[in-house]
Symmetry: C2
Subunit: 429 residues, 2 copies
């Protein structure tokens, strides 16, 4: 197929007619396919079936004679701290194990900094208008937290190596009201890229104008590669310490996409100083976390190595889905010059950049044909993609055959929106 921008208006009209007819036929099929969110599939959940039964009626003691049924142990049981430390290449006393939601840890940390400030810092809210750098496209729930706390969001372009660091360095070093930056360093949401070593080095060596600037390092997909071994990037916590930015990074990790999304464990990792400050607040909030949920995970996996072995099983389920998407996008859209997309080696998403001004239309066309996508714009601060181009595909939940159907509809919609756009451009010209 020739690029759409080389077709004559008549050819475009013919193509639109053919595509619209196909689209019409999909409408009649009553499809109901969901690719809105990064949700594990049922066969992924089944991988952790043993988690439900791995504790017998006498299994409630953690290391050190800790009765997991009772109160206490604010920062987690030793075996779970060690497991997270292993995965993040940190020490157990740099880990605070949380509940079932790492998002809740991020939300609470920002709430804390807004009202009380970082350790030895002033409350963010009393210093002026706090701002965050938001590499975009990014994760909509990060942006929602900023919006909730009325933190101004400054979009920063994402490259294949991570956030555009020239811009990040310039902004962070010049504006003391820039208090934070969101990062999903490994298999980023939604682009699926991995931050380059150079990007991590440069982040660690930032010279923030704000002494209380924090990097929110949401390492949600740290071990979620689609093949091979764990993808390693430089250790941000260590690099920051070397660069004199010891308290700058706040690392978040989660087992939500390792075991059960609804009933896993999470952690926040940072300098010992930050951890002790976070624990001060925590000691006002709770008498302790759900230690039995932690013990279950510790027993089920044994160690970080047990977790890695488990992740290979996830990869075996997920890789065919990502392969299918790449194949269908290439076959259907390749050469048309109406879309670019990422080919991630891990994570939960594929990011598609359609022609400018087409994303909302594509999502609408898909919805009409029974395929739900993440709303267009959701991957940008304030839900506003200035180019109306980016669409996040979340392929994990549907079974392979449903995914194929959904992607047929998606590719068709990208083409239909693309040809419509070319016609509009031609009419203007």
């Amino acid at each position: 197929m020739k690029p759409y921008n080389t077709l004559t208006p008549a050819e475009l009209e013919a193509e639109r007619g053919a595509l619209a007819a196909q689209h019409e036929s999909y409408k009649g099929r009553g499809l109901k396919l969901n690719m809105t969110r990064g949700v594990p599939s049922l066969d992924q959940l089944d991988l952790s079936r043993g988690l439900l039964t791995c504790l017998g009626g006498d299994d409630y003691m953690a290391e050190g004679g800790l009765d997991c049924r009772n109160y206490g142990s604010l920062d987690g049981i030793p075996e779970m701290k060690r497991m997270f430390a292993g995965i993040l290449d940190l020490e157990p006393d740099e880990i605070i194990v949380g509940g079932n939601s790492s998002l809740a840890l991020m939300f609470d940390n920002i709430a804390s900094n807004m009202s009380h400030g970082v350790r030895d810092g002033q409350a963010w809210r009393v210093q002026g208008q706090p701002k965050f750098l938001c590499p975009s496209p990014g994760y909509d729930r990060h942006f929602s937290i900023c919006q909730y706390f009325m933190i101004d969001m400054i979009p920063v372009a994402m490259t294949a190596e991570g956030p555009d660091m020239d811009t990040v360095e310039k902004l962070v070093s010049s504006d003391p009201m820039i208090k934070g930056m969101w990062c999903v360093p490994v298999f980023s949401n939604p682009t699926g890229i991995v931050y380059s070593d150079e990007t991590v080095h440069r982040i660690a060596r930032l010279k923030p104008a704000a002494k209380d600037f924090r990097v929110y390092w949401d390492n949600a997909y740290a071990i979620h590669q689609l093949s091979g071994e764990k993808r390693r990037i430089p250790n941000l916590v260590r690099e920051c310490a070397e660069a004199g930015n010891e308290n700058m990074p706040l690392v978040f990790a989660s087992f939500s996409k390792v075991t059960f999304s609804g009933a896993a464990v999470t952690c926040i990792a940072s300098s010992k100083s930050n951890c002790s400050y976070i624990k001060q607040r925590l000691s006002m909030q709770t008498i302790g976390p759900d230690k039995l949920r932690q013990l279950m995970h510790a027993k089920f996996f044994g160690s970080a190595d047990g977790v890695y072995a488990h992740m290979h099983k996830h990869a075996a389920i997920l890789k065919p889905k990502f392969d299918l998407i790449e194949e269908m996008l290439s076959n259907s859209l390749g050469g048309l010059d109406i879309a670019k997309w990422t080919t991630p080696e891990g994570g939960y998403f594929v990011s598609v950049n359609a022609m400018q001004g087409c994303a909302k239309r594509i999502v609408q066309l898909c919805a009409e044909a029974g395929v739900s996508l993440t709303p267009a714009g959701a991957t940008y601060p304030y839900g506003c993609d200035p180019r109306d181009s980016n669409i996040r595909i979340a392929p994990t939940f549907p079974p392979l055959e449903e995914l194929r159907q959904a992607m047929e509809v998606f590719c068709l919609s990208v083409k239909l929106a693309g040809v419509e756009k070319q016609l509009a451009l031609a009419a203007k010209a």
Copy 2:
């Protein structure tokens, strides 16, 4: 024994000598007994052993085809909402099921009102200096939350019927910066009293100067009676609605002292309007609670009636402990006119009022003899008991024989501090 205040200085000196010698002998015994916190005993935890194994590998579906392993279900699974609704005499849609800590729910609600205000209200923090009424003696962790958020605490006397309502009514109706009041209405912490019907009626009919005044109704011991059936008090939520204060009450409940203190479920209950507002924030914080923990509880108990039956087993373990305390306090301190104490019909504490200026000394004497108590003053805002009189006894964790030893030391210490005080008073006179 005659009241200490009728003894001559010589008799007092003789008594002090005898008591000090006894105290000295205890010091040598190397006791290490802990009555600091309201922690369930091991045999209480054993009652819920079946909870650990009640889910098989195929048990993960809640009502309505809800897969508890995956994301979602922000306000809880239907069966758990119904169970809490049953216990609190409310409707399921007035319930939001939380994680394992009701304290965390209270903390977060106050954080939310401080920074964002109640629904349709201004943030508390921007209106001036927020204040809370703190019926005292009360629960130290409530007071810590206020202190953390720099909310001024106004102590209000506790009577046998609940907070002194004349004072509460006067203050709440006159000061628009009074934004909240802490209440533990059933088997109050630490006095163990139950709010009278009249007290609940009067709370429901408050006419707060602040439209955004909230009653934090921590019903932690709602079903924790030592004998007989569930202790019923008027339904605050319904009474408030009748009085036009629909959004005033925020009710908290927890299974922490029903099943496992470290791994239970909790809830916040309120008007539908408040619940929908709370869920707005919750949708920014998390993608859902630990539904498997909820499903476990729903399966283990079946219904609210199953919970009540379970609570009788707790009562059978706890009643002998509370009976022993009453017996030892009566036998040892009765007639000396140096202490008064409560005789609760439920809950986790006994409250002792020693002679003015003696509480710290008693706690110190106990510590010297190997018995740890809640710090004196902890039951008052800012850790400051103006009379230095109140001591909270937490008798649930130690086995009966250890409790007997601990109470021997306690009674001895109350007497020794009392005789010291009488001697000091005699010296002044």
